[in-house]
């Protein structure tokens, strides 16, 4: 096991990191404290504590249902976008073919273009085919930016894998599917995990497309959160804080679960890792 080596530059970097996190902790705690506070005026801490805001939010938005929907939507989006995106990333990383630039551009655009440009016609299409207003519509709409996102993040990872490894698998009789499942997937675990987490974060946080395509049963947490934040009318500051904490809590659970399954720094080259000291 290696200790983090302490070069002067190292100290500076860690100092900056620590400073960043101390302040970040302040940011997060201030919301957390506020969400449990009764009244908090010009003082260090609220004058009392309560869980009332959580209860209110829970009832008002039937949050249990909303959270279930959110989890379902994000899980589906993550899985589908990886399934659709990773093979395309593979082709873009490995091959040169006529028209590659055009294809690449087409995959880039959905990330660049704000949903304002295509959200409403997209929702129309989805309503026309009976997807919107239902979970499937929300999932499909969210896939639009997610699939290109996976493609873009995965491409460099795939480039890093030595193609001869794949050749070897093919020579052993592995078809494309087997090459993907048995060779590439394990080697790309860090990449898959990174892009899955990022897609997850984006999906859970994607308000616009979700709102446009969601029906009453398929609202996700972010819609409730945006509503509580920006709907006309009066809402206690603390209840917005409580919603934000619920949102973050859910994401945190998802992230920790994801990190339990796979370690982001799990190196395939781990065996060649820097010698331990």
């Amino acid at each position: 096991m290696r200790q983090i080596r302490a070069t002067p530059l190292g100290w500076v970097i860690w100092a900056v990191v620590v400073f960043f996190f101390v302040n970040l902790a302040g940011v997060v705690l201030s919301v957390l404290v506020s969400s449990f506070g009764t009244k908090w005026f010009d003082t260090w801490f609220p004058s009392g504590f309560t869980t009332q805001w959580y209860g209110d939010a829970w009832r008002e938005f039937t949050l249990f249902h909303v959270i279930v929907v959110t989890l379902l939507v994000s899980a589906l989006v993550v899985v589908l976008s990886v399934l659709v995106g990773a093979p395309a990333a593979y082709v873009l990383a490995r091959k040169n073919f006529p028209g590659k630039r055009l294809v690449y551009l087409t995959f880039l655009l959905p990330i660049l273009m704000p949903p304002i440009t295509y959200g409403i016609p997209l929702a129309t299409v989805l309503y026309k085919f009976g997807f919107a207003g239902h979970l499937s519509g929300v999932v499909l709409a969210n896939l639009v930016p997610s699939v290109p996102f996976v493609i873009l993040t995965m491409t460099p990872f795939i480039e890093q894998v030595d193609p001869r490894i794949e050749d070897a698998a093919r020579m052993l009789g592995a078809g494309t599917r087997a090459v993907f499942l048995k060779i590439l997937a394990p080697l790309l675990v860090p990449g898959l995990l990174a892009s899955a987490i990022l897609v997850l974060v984006r999906t859970v946080g994607m308000f616009e497309l979700t709102f446009l395509t969601a029906g009453p049963d398929s609202q996700t947490l972010v819609v409730a959160l945006y509503y509580s934040m920006s709907a006309a009318g009066i809402r206690a500051q603390q209840s917005v804080d409580a919603m934000a904490v619920i949102y973050t809590g859910m994401m945190l659970v998802l992230l920790v679960v994801a990190l339990r399954f796979v370690n982001p720094t799990q190196l395939v080259a781990r065996v060649k890792e820097e010698p331990s000291e």
């Binding site: 900056v16 997060v28 659709v84 082709v91 995959f107 704000p114 460099p156 860090p190 974060v201 799990q266």
Partner: protein
Amino acid sequence: MSATWQHRLAERGVDRRLWLLLPATIFVLLLFVYPFLYGLSLSFQPTDGGGVLANYSKFFSDAYQRDTIATTLKIALPAALLNVLAAVPIAFRLRGRFRGKRLLTTILVVPITLGTVLTAQGLLNYLGPTGWLNRLLLSLHIVDDPIRLTNNYWGVFFSLVITGFPFAFLLVLSYLSGIDPTLERAAATLGASRAQRFRRITLPLLAPGLATTFLLTFVLAFSVFPSAVLVGNPAGSTRVISLAAYQAAYEQYDYSYASAIAMVMGAVELVVVAIVLVWRSRLYTGSTGGKG
């Protein structure tokens, strides 16, 4: 198809494996390209009449609107750069094995879960004039008046760093994991110091990944919207272009104009992206020895 043809095509990269592109292509064509073209054509049909390009000339002839491009770039470029640049040394230090590594990585990635709203609320609470930070500074007599860190440029900037850094970090760390440490060791035996090894070996091999990371963080920062409103000064110094589009669409209900602004927004992004991609395409982008 004759075998000769097949060889010709295979040499140019056209072979069976191209089918893998199909699902994603169909998907994007069906669910994106059509709606997008619709939006594009909408931007050429101004609500108030005028020529095809009326929306665009309206945008560019109005300094109030046009300036949003510069405003946005002024926020997005530094934030994206900072995120990527800060992620590199930290990720670099987290390679290899040591105690507590997993915990440390998790902590570094955690801010990704915060979301814009919590970040915004937190920044307002914590950095606000009566927030903990100002309270501390005041009670330690470091400052006399509360410093303003929210509802201006800095608020938005911080929020972009908080949400963008873990994102960049996660990607950089993962890209870094694909580089064979033996290469660095080889460089060490050739007399390269730590800094030189980093600069000459790790960085070039990492660069394509960095380019991608920068692109993604830049795109996220460029379309910054909720935090520009919540912790920025949406009427003034943080009136970003997405806000202009939003106002056109949802305050003035001029979807055509909004589409045009969004198209301009996309085009500006595309310029930056294209520059980075051209740069990236000149880099070495192959096996980095780490995975095989």
